[in-house]
Amino acid sequence: CWCSLLRQSYDLLYALGSDFCKMIAKGKNASELFPAVVKNVASKNIEIKKLVYVYLMRYAEEQQDLALLSISTFQRALKDPNQLIRASALRVLSSIRVPIIVPIMMLAIKEASSDLSPYVRKNAAHAIQKLYSLDPEQKEMLIEVIEKLLRDRSTLVAGSVVMAFEEVCPDRIDLIHKNYRKLCNLLIDVEEWGQVVIIHMLTRYARTQFVSPWKVVEVVEEYSENNFYESDEEQKEKDQKVKDTYSMDPDHRLLLRNTKPLLQSRNAAVVMAVSQLYWHLAPKSEASVVSKSLVRLLRSNREVQYIVLQNIATMSIQRKDMFEPHLKSFYVRSTDPTMIKTLKLEILTNLANEANISTLLREFQTYVKSQDKQFAAATIQAIGRCATNITEVTDTCLNGLVCLLSNRDEIVVAESVVVIKKLLQTQPAHHGEIIKHMAKLLDNITVPVARASILWLIGEYCERVPKIAPDVLRKTAKSFTDEDDLVKLQILNLGAKLYLTNSKQTKLLTQYVLNLGKYDQSYDIRDRTRFIRQLIVPNEKSGALSKYAKKIFLAQKPAPLLESPFKGRDHFQLGTLSHTLNSQATGYLELSDWPEVAPDPSVRNVEIAESGVSKKLNTSSSSVTESASSEESSSDSKSELDSKSDSESGKSRSTTTSKVTTQVSVPAKTHELLHRMSGKGLAAHYHFSRQPGIFGDHMVSVQVTVTNTTDHKIENIHIKEKKLPPGMRMHEFSPIECLEPAGSITVSVGIDFCDSTQIASFQLCTKDDCFSVSIQPPVGELLLPVTMSEKDFKKEQGEKYFSSFNKCIWMRRGLCAFQFPSVSCVTAANLGVVPSGQDNIHRFAAKTVHSESLMLVTVELKGSSTAQLIINTEKTVIGSVLLRELKPVLSQG
């Protein structure tokens, strides 16, 4: 029957899907299946669809003509009411690497970048990079889209668009200015991968925009330690006055402050990103906050350890103090892989100082005995470095190394010889005994490097061991032909030096060695032989140089510097691939030096603080209030930083704008904040002034009227001890210095309620007393009116119907209010009226103050006693509370 037929065809499709998935996985070419697969792109079955997508992305480039067949399906899906489908259609469309469809992609990206769903906009940001790699000529157009998406306020979009920025136009630093503060403030809520990208980008940005905090270390130190957490404005100002020399740009400080909590992230990449930001941007005294978190990462997987240890190694060269308290965390365990062991050893060596060297050397002694010989050898090198860096222990180390010469393991002995050689060179004064000891070793040791080192030492200091040196030459001349090239060269060297200092005893021997060298297989050795012979053996042809032979051979040689292999890495930005590889990777963006003079900081001031979404909504607005409110919101995020000037301007503004708002909205209802009895004569009332964005975008502004009912002056009225639920913020009014008897004054406070009806508790204080008070907002005050046309409203509603919650109720009581639902609704909640074509349907639109999600209210009158109230929103909680509050308002009248 028909049913089973359908079943079969489904099974077939599914089998086909899985099959080619497996083939792709295996790397086999499945492209001959292409026509059969593409047909299924319009399949209703989501799983089949997804499999087809996987296939398309993989093979479209090879089968371009056939891929084009599928395009129309995606174009249709781009208009789908479901945002998931729109997003995934955009994803696939932009992944099809066929140049012909570039214009279609461009159009789709542009459209998606102003989509209402932040998820679709996020995908648009991803698509930008794909299109750019397909056709770099679209760059200019894409930059426009990036610019637009950078203005987006959604945390979903931020990471992706910054990624696109880094890929397409990392040099357009000017696009960041206006968004800098927003990005800093959003950072903590962005998903972890986005955080990494944004932090790296902001690090580069900050290095071009702020002056170096490092030049005046002492000054900064005091300032930062006192005030890092406190927002004690006065103290800050005072400090800044005293120390004119350097004051950190508040934006610079903002970045440091907002990234610090991310050190607690579970994601190692985020922690590393913050660490490198502090390393490259923070005053020297603050950079050390990162060390604890980095050490924590050492508990992670070996790959994470490897990268983190590398970065610590670079840091520990410049800043021992940062990691010295954690010295023991770098102790090596026998179960660590070799690469981790050597990195830990490197760090331990960097951290060595007079105080800890004795413990370290004891630890090193255990490592030398390790079964991992490669690691043991590295330890000996490390001991050598400690010995040269810390003069107090040079002798101890040298003795220790000499003891190791009697070790049974050849690699250990060889390494010791090499290190001793270097050490002796740094202080050759009194080491005849050690050289004698090493000469004896020559009989047993076979490792070429070690033999060569011993021979060189004896040659160099042959005058200190006059009896032994010729004998050594005699022995090595015998074994010359069997030696390694490295050793042969040193035998020749030794011969030459002895010839010059002690020709009586060694003349013949040297000539014998030179003859052997003349016929050696290696041209290097033949070459050296010829050179030495000409230089030391005087004959008629020898030039002027041979007179200076002794000076040439036995010149004072500078001692080798024993230093960390990580020394040269600090010119790469920490945490980057280039740093790990110690060579510049493709696409590495250099960190610029601090500018001498800071570029104009005002470029970061934001003039119009509006998101892309509300913009779109406003296009069709015709109301007067709208223009007023957009002007109003121009007070930018800077207001959080310097409170004083802004709260004053806020006050002055509130008087001018209140007229405009009263035109639409309401005589505000007054609530009691503090009764005069409990306030010892100080009374306070508040009402919601419904002015958008005086104190930054997310704040609800509250007007507090303080009245003095006593018969004496009340001084210094201010807010203290805010007890806010997490996430909530409050913008205080500046203290009222004095309030005359019977006088009253109105001040504005901004509270970010985070779109919840939680209570904001704080203390209202006078000079002598403190009173605990609290403000709980009615849900209607958490909204800001939005003006839109009926058409837009319906479109939005359609949208929300799919993605979010809607509630409806029926009411059968009360009559009066039905006559004027718009008046009563607007009184109860801060809603914007949408002009309606039908008499019985009233529409209102608003957005929540904090998250700016739309709230659509529809009241439909059905007969004289019934009405339907529908609220469309993504914020269920607020939606249902609003529903509850509007219901009685409507039914009472």
Partner: protein, 418 residues
């Protein structure tokens, strides 16, 4: 960012490849195989390998190399952390992450990888969201799917991705509401020859299994939060609340997750719960060596030490060992030279010991270093740092959940040098 991913098994076969941008030929892995050959052991393969046109970043887990191919500068930890997240996701989906499992579920693997990255940039990495998009395979579901024709792919929008709590899926319903928290502490220590502690620190985690209906808002407070020296949180934890009140306040993800990991540093004295007495000696002349170890409890706060396993990597010169344990079983592998002794429970009245002799290769000199002893153990009902959960409260939902807290102390990297 991430161009392609290759999965390579122990035998050096590429058994899965996935490309997010244009296709990179699998011959790029030759550079990886070269590096693999150079490194003696799998874990010594460098995680970052440069090749002429690409960079290979790899992680090694469950005997599988996950090799990511990238083309330009990117923070290496970004890629490494992501690869680990991929492995965790596979483990979460299939229970174990093995070659067989991945091959059997190749379609799901593909779908998951497709969702995790878009054009090489991570898209959905939260397991709650992924599971909404693509349902993990279970035997029951496979049967149901075949009968009803429904699919693994969720067809609704992953609402979590859009909400303010992206880690929690919406519409969670349980008949039994329960929340379990496991406080697990691991002691990392190095003990020297004489039995004194060289370094010791405690690494703790709180793993949670939360199965609660709706959108519960939990707070967890400690009796002694000051102990926690350095913490890292799941993104759900409200950082500001912790900063100000030292209380963990969060809306939990659904299911299993790691709420918190913390560190108790060496400054606070760490109690070492066990000691090892050892007498291991090689003699230069004879080809026999003596071996004797005894394990005993030290500071265990009256709790039993269980699950004790002693392992030790013997020097190459040891040919065989003849040992008799007073309890438990022991194995010596003459090829890898690994001695492993499964002790079990420690009875303080009768301490477990392992005695006997080692036969050494004749003619070779004695090894310079005595072997290091690695110890594993478990102590139930004890958090060695003394950390105690004070209370757990739930807001936002009406029902009464069942709550449980369990403590455990384990050995982390616990080494005794001899």
């Amino acid at each position: 960012m991430i161009h392609s991913l290759f999965l390579i098994n122990a035998a050096g076969d590429i058994f899965l490849e996935k490309h997010w941008k244009s296709v990179v030929s699998r011959s790029v892995c030759d550079y990886f195989f070269e590096a693999q050959e150079r490194a003696s052991e799998a874990e010594n393969v460098l995680p970052v390998i440069p090749t002429p046109h690409h960079y290979l970043l790899s992680v090694y887990r469950h005997k599988i190399f996950f090799v990511a191919v990238i083309q330009s500068e990117v923070p290496p930890l970004f890629v490494i952390e992501f690869l680990h997240r991929v492995v965790d996701t596979f483990q979460d989906y299939f229970g174990v992450c093995s070659e067989v499992m991945i091959k059997d579920n190749v379609v799901v693997v593909y779908e998951v990888l497709e969702e995790m990255l878009d054009n090489g940039f991570p898209l959905a990495t939260e397991s709650n969201i992924l599971k909404e998009l693509i349902k993990p395979p279970t035997i029951l579901r496979t049967v149901v799917n075949t009968i009803t024709g429904s699919t693994n792919v969720g067809d609704q929008l992953p609402t979590g991705q859009l909400s303010v709590v992206p880690w929690r899926r919406t519409g969670v319903k349980y008949t039994n509401n329960e929340a379990y928290f496991d406080v697990i502490e691991e002691i990392d220590a190095i003990i020297d020859k004489s039995g004194s502690t060289i370094t010791a620190e405690i690494q703790g985690v709180i793993d949670a299994c939360v199965k609660l209906t709706g959108m519960p808002d939990l707070t967890l407070s400690f009796m002694n939060p000051r102990l926690l020296d350095d913490v890292s949180f799941h993104p759900c934890v409200r950082f500001k609340r912790w900063e100000s009140e030292r209380i963990l306040s969060f809306i939990p993800p659904d299911g299993n997750f790691r709420l918190l990991s913390y560190h108790v540093s060496a400054q606070n004295l760490v109690a070492i719960p066990v000691y090892v007495k050892h007498n291991i000696s090689f003699r230069d002349s004879s080809s026999l060596g003596r071996f004797e170890i005894t394990v005993g409890p030290k500071q265990t706060m009256g709790k039993t030490v269980e699950g004790v396993i002693v392992t030790s990597q013997m020097p190459k010169g040891v040919l065989n060992m003849t040992l008799t344990p007073s309890q438990g079983t022991h194995v010596f592998d003459p090829v890898t030279k690994l001695l492993s002794w499964d002790v079990g429970k420690i009875n303080p009245q009768k301490l477990p010991s392992l005695k006997g002799s080692m036969s050494l290769q004749a003619g070779t000199s004695k090894p310079d270093e005595n072997p290091t002893i690695n110890l594993q153990f478990k102590i139930q009902q004890l958090a060695i740092s003394g950390l105690k959960v004070n209370r757990l409260d739930m807001y936002g939902e009406k029902y009464k959940p069942f709550k449980g807290i369990k403590y455990m102390t384990k050995a982390g990297k616990f080494q005794v040098r001899t």
